[in-house]
Amino acid sequence: MTDWFATLALPVPLQWALGGVVILLLVATLTIAILSARKPEKNWTELKLRVRTWWWIVGFFSLSLIGSKGLALLVFALISFLALKEFLTLTTTREADHVVLFWAYLTIPLQYYWIHITWYGMFIIFIPVYVFLFLPMRMVLIGETKGFLRAASSLQWAVMLTVFCISHLPALLILPETVHKGDIATGAMLLFFVVALTQSNDVAQYLWGKSIGRIKVAPKVSPNKTLGGLLGGAATTTLLAWLIGPYLTPMAPLHCALAGLLIGTTGFIGDIVISAVKRDIGVKDSGQLLPGHGGILDRLDSLTYTAPLFFHFVRYLYF
């Protein structure tokens, strides 16, 4: 019993980091409670929902950090499943491709299985090579050519973003153990590092944009994104990475700061790429799975970029 508990125990820096997140959420919850008591005439529902959903996200994500590889894979496979479902629900799919969509879903258990058996070579080429070639073949066998290119490319993209990119998060968790340069706790801290910085970067860019943002970066795609928000957010994230990185990761301070810069800028790109998808389809939110946030893709958008990029950054330099 105690042995089992010991293997699940969080490393000390991660305990502090998670404690910090919980304190931030507590402060946010209390602030909103006080503000809504003072100004009941304003509508606080959206903000309250948003913070309550944050509690759920942090709770659910923490399951992947407690040191159980199987549990972490389950958590992220479920996230991929929900994200792919949301993506496919948003886009128009052809009736003819019904069975092909099933194959697309089947990539999820397979991709996470490669991570489970620590087969890096397969993990990294399975979707970009085999699935990429297989899905159009399966569509061609059905024989419907009308709308083929559009259907094939949106399906490829859906699988790349929601399965391939997201699966880099649990891959990060097991990376140190696989190459015998640390254990699952080292991986858990890397995982926390990239997820926490990506999410705080979203918040920082929003806050900097509200306060000093004037010049629009991508007015056609996302009118609320400003240069001030981008630069302020990226700088904040770089600073934060430089501060917490040495405790959470094996990286040198300079590399931590560079990782922060990478997350800060590419997180922004992931965000506006999903915005462009939503704008093309003509919807405001990607779904309604996360009350106060929208859909699950609205929360994962920046991670689809930062997860694989940070994974390869740290893998190249340290593992």
């Binding site: 929900l82 629900t89 009736e95 019904h98 003509g282 919807v283 405001k284 939110d285 779904g287 799975l289």
Partner: protein
Amino acid sequence: MPWLRVLFVLLVARPVVKLWLGLTVRHQERLPLTGPAIVVANHNSHLDILTLYALFPLGRIRHVQPAAAADYFLKNRAMAWFATQVVGIIPVKRGSKKGDDPLAGCREALADGRILILFPEGTRGEPEVLSEVKSGIWHLAGEFPQAPVIPVYMHGLGRALGRGQWLPIPFFVDVAVGHAHYWQDNRQAFKQELRDCLLQLREKVLPARLDND
């Protein structure tokens, strides 16, 4: 055998609809929990019945029964047993001879105080297209004018499992429940009202649009 139906809802309908697909319901509180009542829904997929079952509390399932085409579901003995005993459909004979009452089973269910699920379009039709409302519902409701008629619109099920498909593919599904309607003398007005309500509910379940410039 009501317990078979409860098991079917618990082990098949709910997992398929709530986990494999994914369900958002607007105004679930408008669903009737006691009969006699008629729930009218749009029909695109075999999953429609599963989805409607998933909306009701388990304890009420034994009082809920969908009407379904006899010629389709009673094709052979195994399917007939599954449809009537496990799913619990009330068979309706489409295009039957004169003298035969196709709605006898439905009438009995309502007289018995049960909640009847009807698909007034008659068939599953084209995916995500609402066909004309047929007159059977007006005749039936006329005999139970005190029974509320509650429209339910379901979006996304035709994509998940359409005609001729056997494998349900995960898609998020949106359901909206409308206000109760009651029978009225004017057949055309009654049918039109139901259809308008279903169309209005459809507007609600479609994703929020961006105000495009």
